[in-house]
């Protein structure tokens, strides 16, 4: 199939950037979206042009490195699918496809479609961890977890930190990411010691990074490749309300 791509090109953080149109020919429907971009980049390289920079690593939907906004939808038209797992058969011959980077103040563009998602790391550093003894793995049955809690925690643990929730949010908020991390840890016994300081620290880091505030619209969950449920945000809010009430009694804030 033959396609017309309109891709955001930006030489560096200070370049204002613009959409540039490229034709690509002979795209196989079995290719992934990133392989299609590889084809384009080979064409560009042979022609002596600068290839389009985009982030990727595992190409199997588990690392969270890839991500771009395709026709206005983060990770493209398929539900619960990262862009590396999106196949060209979901497009038709002759389509024009708009490709843009995640757009958020907290995600500055480094080049073309590559953005700096360090803000998510800063949120994690502010509390997205547990204090566990290192060494050999503990006996799995030594700590019991209710099945319902284990399932909900696992569901949230599936977040790959791709940032699509931010890209899709009309408020530019990373609350779904935040809620996934807080839910994951605060439902498990290992997450209890830091539960209250975690939520306050991570929310503060989120706001300080320049993300917007959540208004429960739900665009995030609709594009999330791991289908993190919107209801995790309720768990985040509940922990936050509790933590801000109890904060004075919590050491180590």
């Amino acid at each position: 199939m033959n396609l017309t791509l309109r891709i955001w090109r930006q030489k560096g953080p200070d370049d204002p950037g613009r959409m540039v149109t490229y034709p690509v020919t002979d795209v196989s429907p079995d290719m992934s979206f990133l392989e299609m971009l590889d084809v384009l980049n080979e064409q560009l390289t042979l022609a002596g042009d600068d290839p389009v920079a985009f982030d990727h690593d595992c190409r199997e939907g588990i690392c969270g490195a890839c991500g771009m906004v395709i026709n206005g939808v983060a990770h493209g038209p398929e539900k619960a699918t990262t862009v590396c797992q999106l196949h060209m058969r979901h497009f038709s011959d002759g389509d024009t496809i708009d490709i843009e980077p995640w757009r958020a103040k907290a995600f500055p563009v480094i080049k073309d479609l590559v953005v700096d998602r360090g803000a998510l790391d800063r949120i994690i550093a502010a509390g997205g961890y547990i204090t566990a003894p290192t060494g050999s793995a503990p006996e799995a049955h030594s700590q019991l977890v209710r099945k319902a809690d284990a399932d909900a925690a696992f569901e949230s643990a599936a977040c790959i930190g791709c940032g699509a929730c931010v890209a899709a949010c009309p408020n530019g908020s990373a609350t779904l990411f935040l809620a996934a991390k807080v839910t994951h840890l605060s439902l498990l016994p290992q997450g209890q010691p830091e539960r209250m300081t975690r939520v306050v620290g991570m929310v503060d880091a989120h706001d300080a990074a320049g993300f917007g505030g959540c208004t429960n619209i739900g665009e995030c969950s609709a594009v999330c490749p791991k289908e993190i449920p919107l209801s995790t945000i309720g768990r985040l809010n509940r922990d936050y309300l509790r933590a801000t009430r109890e904060r004075s009694g919590t050491p180590g804030t």
């Binding site: 955001w8 906004v69 103040k105 908020s173 208004t215 619209i217 665009e219 209801s231 309720g234 809010n237």
Partner: protein, 210 residues
């Protein structure tokens, strides 16, 4: 947002129930309106309770708008470069129109106060006869007044549909099943409130109240 919104919603419920008194006839309705001024008597002088409520609601409204403005400014700052290709929000019309809907509702509230509280825009404008004010307002030849009220109330309905759900979420509603329940409750509540408010102008228009 959630707390101030809930205060305003409590008022909306009381206001709607009060409005429905119109179906008991002019004497009952006017008596009810007069009673509002005397709540708290004889401990409180006349109108004190009413002013207290006005101040409280005014403060809640200001806080609500202030919080909305802060969120809107943060949202704008969080995405300095806009998308070239941006389809409509996938999720819900109600969620997408919260901000402009809020502005329309605020304008409607101003109109409504000038109409039925101060009487500046009302053809009868007699504070002692609210029943007559309402009937004159929604007379068929003044159809545009009814239209303004319909627009105001329907916009309010959309605002409440997302607002009620969102408030529950902000206060910690946390399971997917609860979310489905909260969404349906918000929808039912918004529709019921719209119906409760709109039945008055349409009853006048249809000549059932006159």
């Amino acid at each position: 947002m959630a707390v101030t919104g809930i205060l305003l919603v409590l008022f909306l419920i009381a206001h709607m129930i009060g409005n429905l008194k119109i179906f008991f006839g002019p004497a009952d309705f006017d008596h009810y309106a007069h009673w509002l001024r005397t709540i708290g008597a004889p401990v409180l002088p006349e109108d004190w309770y009413l002013w207290g409520q006005r101040v409280l609601l005014g403060a809640a409204l200001v806080a609500h708008i202030w919080a909305a403005a802060v969120l809107a400014r943060r949202a704008r700052a969080a995405r300095p470069v806009r998308y070239v290709h941006r389809p409509k929000v996938q999720v819900s019309y109600a969620a997408r129109t919260m901000r402009w809907g809020g502005v329309i509702i605020a304008l409607f509230v101003v109109y409504h106060l000038l109409d039925l509280t101060t009487g500046d825009l009302n053809p009868v404008a007699d504070q002692r006869r609210p029943y007559a004010n309402v009937v004159a307002d929604f007379a068929p030849e003044r159809w545009w007044v009814t239209l303004i009220y319909v627009i105001g109330i329907v916009t309010l309905g959309f605002h409440l549909r997302h607002g009620m759900f969102s408030a529950l979420r902000s206060l910690g509603q946390q399971t997917p099943r609860g979310e489905r329940r909260a969404r349906s409750a918000a929808l039912v509540f918004a529709v019921a409130l719209c119906a409760g408010y709109l039945v008055v102008p349409f009853a006048v228009l249809a000549g059932l109240v006159g």
